[in-house]
Point group: C2
Chain length 261, copies 2
């Protein structure tokens, strides 16, 4: 058995998210496991994804780990998988790893990008990958609010109900608002871990700041309230892309190197 690390790109529009489910829904995990089974002739495949992206969320650099009995070299395996995978799912990197590698447990940080189309008119070519907000946004105010959310905080107010996380303290290494009003705006969020729907709740809150419904300086009060009802709505999945998953030294239990907030 050889453990492999796969780097995946997908257009999440036509997937019911990452995770395999009952009742034959099309998931990234399910489609990829079927492709691996076909290429390697294996029967039971246990694929682990670094992040369980929701339905409609895209990826440029999702990471998965899998152990396989195959004689194929990584390069050959990647080519064989890409030959059978559908157009909206591609293996963009594949390498052999030590057997202990685990895509989710060993991840040190993840980078997400949320794309907003801030033009006055709808954009048909961005419909699948950006959220359209036609009213000009106050990007400077969004940046100010973003600064206040960076660092280590209790993000209980930004998680969806039904989460089973034991602690709601998370660290945002970076929360940047790029772009200009009336044009494309990208919110980049890098963190060591995220609660359920946390990125989309952060974006929904920043959008309220950008549209003047909430002052930029209210973020500390919002964090202290720890109340999902007070933060902004969960922004639509279509705007979100998992850009990159970073791995430090996976054997170091104290591996998180968090810069000062």
């Amino acid at each position: 058995m050889q453990t492999f690390k796969l780097i995946l790109e997908y257009d999440g529009t036509d997937f019911a998210g990452w995770q395999s489910q009952a009742a034959g829904r099309r998931t990234v995990q399910g489609v990829l496991e079927a492709a691996i089974a076909r290429v390697c002739g294996a029967r039971r495949i246990r694929l682990v994804g670094a992040g369980r992206t929701d339905a409609g969320v895209h990826a440029e650099g999702q990471v998965a780990s899998v152990s396989l009995a195959t004689r194929l070299l990584p390069e050959e395996l990647a080519r064989a998988l890409n030959a059978v995978l559908p157009d909206d799912l591609a293996v963009v990197g594949l390498m052999a790893m030590p057997g202990a590698f685990h895509a989710r447990r060993d991840a040190v940080s993840k980078l997400y990008r949320y794309r907003i189309w801030n033009g006055a008119r709808r954009s048909a070519l961005r419909a699948r990958t950006a959220y359209a907000v036609p009213v000009p946004l106050d990007v400077a105010a969004m940046r100010e609010a973003a600064r206040a959310l960076e660092g280590t905080h209790d993000f209980a107010g930004f998680q969806s109900t039904g989460s089973s996380a034991t602690t709601t303290v998370r660290t945002l290494l970076r929360l940047d608002v790029c772009g200009a009003p009336g044009d494309e705006i990208a919110i980049e969020v890098e963190g060591t871990g995220f609660l359920r729907h946390m990125v989309r709740a952060l974006v929904g809150t920043l959008l309220e700041v950008g549209s003047g419904k909430r002052p930029a300086e209210s973020m500390s009060v919002l964090l202290a309230a720890r109340d999902r009802g007070q933060a902004g709505p969960t922004a639509p999945a279509r705007g979100l892309t998992l850009v990159r998953v970073d791995y430090g030294n996976p054997r170091d239990p104290d591996r998180l190197a968090v810069p000062p907030a």
Copy 2:
């Protein structure tokens, strides 16, 4: 009756091209005419498109003209149309024009962009809008060949059979190859008029140059041959986008201002 100019953006993937056809196929013209009929309560609508894009070809700035009896202001009409149009088709501009305005006859030039994904691996997020060529391309050679195709030439060797054009002489104002090997490469083609499938035949020929199958200096021989069989294949529709249609002074019969080749 008021004549309107519409600027349209669409993801061509799920359209059977611009032009309305028999047998209920989904076309840009058909979907847009149905939306106008619904919004304006009109029955017979004659929409004219500047370029009859093929199935799978996209647009950022297709232009259409239409005459309507409506009391809606251009801004109101645009908003009403965008409210009923599907996600993959949007009105990005709409203005009232003199009655004589005709989107196709008055067009002075058009700009097309052809996107090539030259990475070694497939890109799932570019699958709908770029053509994947995994072998590194010689972009410098493509640029040299492109230079030789600019200007006024007989492009008979670059049109699909079944064309009814009376002359096959056309003028390319600009043919640029942007980008780098292994990355995204964009071929931009601006011209005063194009033969059937001409842009895609130009791209197919430049791709043969880029992959070393044809020398860059063979373009003049190819133009002189006037033989479709000697030029490269028609590149796939998915990579092509109609970026912009330009209108000069529509009343000037001698309106083409062609810079020296």
